[in-house]
């Protein structure tokens, strides 16, 4: 879990045994869940009905998870992910509605709005030293009100009518619809590569870039980082801006998925944003992140949702089982941790 922390000069004292790697466990769990749901309902592997929508959902919520992960790296939280997503969806919608902006410009405007809001939160946190939970919670409160007021002012109701050209293709098309001669693409929704780019960029950022490594160091020990010449305040602002940017991207992806820029975008983001990174092994205390784990965590959650849905479970039962799975996964992780410690293996 903390392997991202070990420096290259220092060889790890003992090789992690396979069972102690949390991500292997997640992959096994994912495969087991898919196998279970497929045996119970063969329709689970139906491409049009299940697999394509599920991939779109995983794309959206993986980005939501990354948005939270960006600040968890510091040991901070972003309680306003959903509302940042809503605000940036509003910005995209407004740009298209009033200025007739094309898809790319609308997306860029949305991302800029998200990054600005994130940077604002980061600025307040870095300069006052107030707990990030309080600041982002208050921001969330304020934005809940602002989003509905803005939609009420600029639209007829709670959504913009039009969509930029090409956005509905993001919703309905898969690569199978685009053929070069006889060769068609796989049945993967167009949203997936966008999310994949986000995953790769965030992964590379935290693994290889100076900024990303310095954010992790600031998260692991802010004082030591400060004394080593890392601009902790700047890194804090950058991490929060990244979180806002990713929240904005998630808002855009969900709007594309829903087919409209509406005030309700981001309403259900808070819980999944924590579920995915935490299931994936990212710590709340900061200093260590697992981007791959976040993607796996998202995949597991969405597989459970879809599977239980197909088995015609009610909404309330869905929630019950998601909560139980989270508790069980975390407790197992704890057991694994204790066992690994006993064997003298750092885990």
């Amino acid at each position: 879990m903390k392997q991202e922390d070990t420096t290259p000069e220092q060889p790890p004292p003992a090789r992690l045994p396979l069972w102690a790697n949390p991500r292997i466990g997640l992959v096994v769990l994912l495969i087991a869940l898919i196998a279970l749901f497929t045996t119970l309902r063969p329709a689970f592997l139906n491409t049009q009905l299940t697999l394509v929508p599920m991939q779109a959902d995983i794309s959206v919520y993986a980005v939501v998870g990354l948005s939270q992960l960006a600040v968890l790296s510091l040991g901070h939280m972003n309680m306003a992910v959903g509302r940042m997503a809503a605000m940036s969806a509003f910005a995209s919608g407004l740009l298209h509605d009033r200025l007739d902006a094309p898809l790319i410009l609308a997306l860029a405007g949305g991302l800029a709005m998200g990054a600005l809001l994130g940077a604002l939160a980061g600025l307040i946190i870095a300069h006052t030293g107030v707990n990030s939970f309080v600041v982002t919670l208050a921001l969330d409160f304020a934005l809940i009100g602002l989003v509905s007021l803005l939609y009420a002012t600029f639209t007829d109701g709670v959504a913009f009518n039009g969509l930029p050209a090409g956005m509905s293709a993001l919703r309905t098309d898969t690569f199978a619809d685009y053929c070069a001669g006889d060769v068609c693409g796989p049945e993967i929704p167009l949203l997936a590569p966008i999310a994949l780019i986000a995953v790769l960029v965030v992964g590379l950022l935290f693994r290889w870039s100076r900024t990303g490594r310095e954010v992790l160091m600031a998260g692991s020990n802010a004082k030591a980082a400060q004394l080593s010449g890392i601009p902790v305040r700047l890194r804090t602002i950058q991490a929060h801006a990244l979180s806002g940017l990713l929240a904005g991207l998630a808002g855009f992806l969900l709007s594309a998925n829903n087919g409209s820029f509406s005030a309700g975008v981001g309403d259900g983001f808070l819980l999944p944003s924590f579920l995915a990174p935490v299931l994936g092994g990212t710590l709340l205390v900061g200093g260590a992140v697992s981007v791959l784990g976040t993607v796996l965590g998202t995949a597991i959650t969405q597989v459970i949702y879809k599977g239980l849905n197909l088995l015609q479970f009610q909404v309330d039962e869905l929630k019950l089982y998601i909560g139980l799975v989270l508790l069980a996964a975390l407790s197992l992780d704890r057991v694994r941790h204790v066992l690994a410690e006993r064997r003298g293996v750092p885990a």
Partner: protein, 338 residues
Amino acid sequence: MTSTVETTTTRPAGPPAAPPSRLRRTVRTSEFTLVTLAVIGFVALTLTTDGNMLSAGTLAAFFRFLAVPMIIGLAQMVVLAIGQMNLSVGVLTGFCAMVAAWAMLEAGLPAPLAVAGAMLLGAAVGLGNGLLVVFTRINAFIVTLATMTIIDGLRYGVNGPGTYQDYSAGLAELGQASVLGLPVVFLIACAVAAMVWFFFARTVPGRHLLASGGSPFAARLSGVSNDRSIVLAHALSGLLAGVAAVLTLAQSGSVNATIGDDLLLPSFAAPIIGGVALAGGVVSVLGTCLAAFIVRLVDVAQAQFAINRRWVDLIVGAVVLGVVLSGAIRAKLSRRSS
């Protein structure tokens, strides 16, 4: 404010200082600021509504709907005292209310038993939260996030989307009753707040709890069991959520599975505006109640002037941010001057 409040909390008053500095200290406390704010807000609202605020009906409604936010703020405050959070307070309130209504309507239990059952259920769920935190050593934020999801499912499972009403004539009567113009539910909330204050100010477990929150290491060295404090805080938080459920049952007359959805954010707003530190070790019962009062004023202003409901969220958010910022600035200034 979060740091200056340290001297103003429920700890027993120290030896009386010289009169001028004492006055100054009182003026500087966050409670004083809140009282001033509350009074100014109340007077302003009275003047701008041509005294409509003081009419018996408006005033009674004002206090009746203050009861639940007060208790829910206290339920969060108890857990903040040990430096943890309880995300499940809101849904737990709804769940207890639904179960109690079910017990009265479907199981035919008499109201007093159902009321006791709701509070016991809340305490039991809170106890479960605390035990999970202690035994798994997982962050309380995550544990209660998981239990929030679970309880959310259970709450909906009691009666699906259906509504329970007419469960108990006695409870409904209690919800509408007044003593000297003050609604009984509000008086009950005040009594509960007084008990919470007494718990933190005068009882050994309460002081231990604050010690654990302030410095777990020092607490352990002084022979305080941090684990016991954690379990106790979560159980107490659950119990208070149960109390909030009973008050909701009494005042609203009908309950469904959405009860508690809008309580999570206010549960944090009240203690934070009231000057409770998230880091733990500090509580302010009076501050939390006053903050709930101020938020209620914003609510009433919205109703009186028929403002868009959404302005309330915007204003409350801005107030929390403002309080937090001014507290940080004040701390910086006082550090510079000393």
